[in-house]
């Protein structure tokens, strides 16, 4: 007979709460609406979550290292616009290469500012949000970008399927597996946890904090470039503001997955759960015929509940002891 005291229950919820909530949530929606768990619907939800998901993988690295990245939304607009513009000018292969290089350059700049100059990541990436948005507008001259040849193989990344599975999902899964291994199984990954958990202690143990943070931002910008590629390939045309506001959804997913904004905690697997949960919540609410905007309010409530349960589990008390 399982007997749980209140404290133990809180602790359990804090540890596995997000998974438990996800399961309960899926069950309720599946019972309410049969369409919800049909293969078609599930695939389409994952597919549309892939762009957010890919970016969330990179942000997980940044958050685990104890920093924030608010610039990913405008960075994604940048890479989408650049690759679309260059596609017609220098061909798809060179366009993709050039776009990845430019986006990685932006990531390296942020990594340098936060990692080596030790500037506050919130303000730096807030500044970069504005600066990169300006850069994108300057680059495109404020115009929308379109690919003239709509039958280009460039559409592979966003529109095609391999063995019945849409390519965006494959990219998301592969990248998640790869980055998951890097974060949890390699010395580099352990360094990230050390730096995020206690930067001073990590420095004294001979870990280069600057270098670790720098590479986290590089990984994050790589993920953003990949997301931009999927977005560009899916729509073959785009506005300048395609990524605007996505940083919040991504951050919401990462937080929902249980990564601590103080650094040192969070895993790729949990981030994937967070991403899928957000995707399925949005989808479920729409299927139930609720207004589109209800999902914002629900997301708000869920984020706060998730983080609350997480820290309540850690301190063993539901309410904050703050007087």
């Amino acid at each position: 007979m399982l007997r749980l005291s209140k404290d133990e229950a809180i602790r359990f919820l804090g540890k596995q709460g997000i998974l438990a909530a996800f399961v309960i949530f899926m069950l309720v929606f599946a019972l309410a609406e049969a369409k919800f768990i049909s293969a078609d619907n599930v695939l389409s939800v994952i597919r549309s979550s892939a762009i957010i998901g890919v970016m969330a993988l990179g942000v997980t690295f940044v958050v685990v290292s104890g920093n924030l990245d608010l610039s990913i939304g405008s960075m994604m607009s940048f890479s989408t616009i650049v690759v679309l513009d260059l596609h017609d000018k220098i061909g798809p292969v060179l366009a993709i290469l050039a776009m990845f290089s430019l986006t990685l350059l932006l990531g390296a700049l942020i990594g340098f500012l936060v990692g080596y100059l030790r500037l506050n990541s919130l303000i730096v990436t807030l500044g970069m949000l504005s600066a990169i948005h300006g850069l994108t507008l300057t680059y495109s001259g404020g115009k929308n970008m379109d690919i003239s040849d709509k039958s280009s193989w460039f559409s592979f990344f966003g529109q095609d399927s391999v063995m019945g599975i849409p390519v965006p999902i494959l990219i998301f899964a592969l990248l998640a597996a790869l980055l998951g291994i890097i974060l949890s199984k390699t010395p580099f990954g352990r360094k990230i946890y050390a730096v995020g958990g206690n930067g001073t202690a990590a420095t004294f143990s001979g870990i280069s904090r600057s270098k670790t943070v720098f590479f986290c931002y590089l990984i994050s910008s790589f993920c953003v470039a990949t997301a931009g590629l999927i977005q560009a390939s899916r729509s073959l045309g785009s506005q300048n503001t395609v990524g605007q506001g996505l940083e919040l959804e991504v951050l919401a997913a990462v937080i929902l997955g249980g990564a601590s904004l103080l650094g040192g905690a969070g895993t790729i697997a949990k981030t994937v759960v967070g991403v899928l949960m957000l995707g399925f919540i949005q989808n479920g609410l729409l299927l139930m015929g609720l207004q589109f905007y209800v999902q914002f309010v629900v997301t708000w409530v869920i984020i706060i509940l998730a983080v609350w349960l997480d820290i309540a589990g850690k301190r063993g008390k539901l309410w904050s002891p703050l007087a």
Binding site: L113, L117, R118, L119, N120, L122, I123, V124, L126, G127, M128, L129, S130, A131, I132, H133, G134, L135, T136, L137, T138, G142, G245, L248, L251, A252, I255, L261, L262, Q291, F292, Y293, V294, Q295, F296, V297, T299, W300, V301, I303, I304, V307, W308, I311, A312, R315, W319, S320, P321, L322, A323
Partner: protein
């Protein structure tokens, strides 16, 4: 007498030097590059500039307290939009039709009350659950915006009241109504932060939260009051702005957080809390508005403004850190 005051101001914060620099730069550059033949330093232009900085400035005063207290509020833009919609909906509601212009205080009161209430929700959650204010307000930024759309739909809401428009466009002693609101709010918040126990405690909490708890300061209620204040100020900003414009789009106030935090950081307030000045925050607000207007004056477009403001924000952070490191090293010796 006057020259001493200027010196004190310059010493108080480098932001005023920066503003001076901007004024000189845009006046000189404007005389070569500007398309209009009016001078940048024109009195009317400067008055207009103050008026235009009011919506951001009023909220920035609240953000300064929040940041001095060691928190951050990302939801102010959404609160701003909700308050605006409450204001205009109340004024056009058939319930108050018979009241004539007496509907104005009711509408203002309703908007300010809603703003304060939303702030209280943020503060209460941050206090009682112990969830970081960044996450709480990140969530409510989404949630409040969702409420705006659920309540209002996607179309703009409009209601023009000519008494209000006259009031908003009036000039008293040469300054516009909105400017007066900004100045009064600045003065009030300055008094609160420098002359009251609440203000001193806010600095203490931001500086060292644990020490503040040990000293018997009740951190939670302080945090909640500060969030109610910023909610109130976001609503006040909406009231001042929309009394004149009379039309609100549900997307209004988006990216306000960005401008406001930029202004407060430019004013020298530390994100880690514990230090910052209200007067310098006003300087930060004016500096940003000058930059936007000045760049427009010399023919730069929005993209350049975004680029410049982002770069300046990072540059200020860098310079600030260099200066602080120097100070800390001297302290060690």
């Amino acid at each position: 007498m006057k020259s001493i005051n200027v010196k004190v101001l310059l010493k108080a914060s480098p932001i005023w030097i920066f503003i001076l620099f901007e004024l000189v730069f845009f006046s000189v550059a404007g005389s070569y590059l500007s398309l209009s033949d009016k001078a940048f330093m024109d009195v009317d232009n400067m008055l207009l500039l103050l008026k235009q900085s009011a919506p951001i400035g009023i909220i920035a005063m609240g953000m300064a307290i929040i940041m001095i207290n060691g928190n951050i509020d990302l939801s102010v833009g959404a609160t701003f939009a909700i308050a605006a919609i409450v204001l205009l909906e109340t004024m056009s509601s058939p319930m108050f039709e018979g009241l004539g212009d007496w509907v104005i205080p009711i509408a203002w009161g309703a908007a300010l009350l809603v703003g304060t209430l939303l702030g209280a929700i943020n503060g209460l959650i941050a206090w009682k659950t112990g969830v970081d204010a960044f996450i709480v307000t990140l969530g409510s930024m989404l949630g409040f915006r969702g409420l705006v759309f659920m309540f209002n739909g996607e179309n703009p809401t409009s209601h023009l009241n000519w008494t209000l428009v006259d009031f908003a466009e009036a000039q008293f002693l040469g300054l516009h109504t909105a400017t007066w609101f900004l100045l009064v709010v600045t003065a009030a918040i300055w008094y609160l932060m420098n002359r009251t126990v609440h203000g001193r405690n806010a600095y203490a909490i931001g500086n060292n939260r644990e020490a503040a708890v040990n000293a018997g300061i009740r951190v939670g209620p302080h945090m909640m009051i500060n969030f109610m204040l910023i909610g109130f100020l976001a609503a006040l900003s909406a009231v001042v702005f929309y009394s004149e414009s009379g039309s609100v789009n549900p997307n209004d106030g988006q990216l306000y957080e960005l401008w406001i935090i930029t202004a407060v950081v430019l004013g020298g307030t530390k994100l880690t809390g514990g230090s910052g000045s209200i007067l310098s925050t006003l300087g930060g607000v004016i500096a940003i508005q000058l930059l936007r207007k000045g760049l427009g004056h010399i023919g730069a477009d929005t993209s350049t403004v975004n680029l410049v403001i982002g770069s300046i924000l990072i540059l200020v952070l860098f310079l600030d850190r260099q200066i602080n490191i120097k100070g800390r090293e001297e302290l060690k010796v």
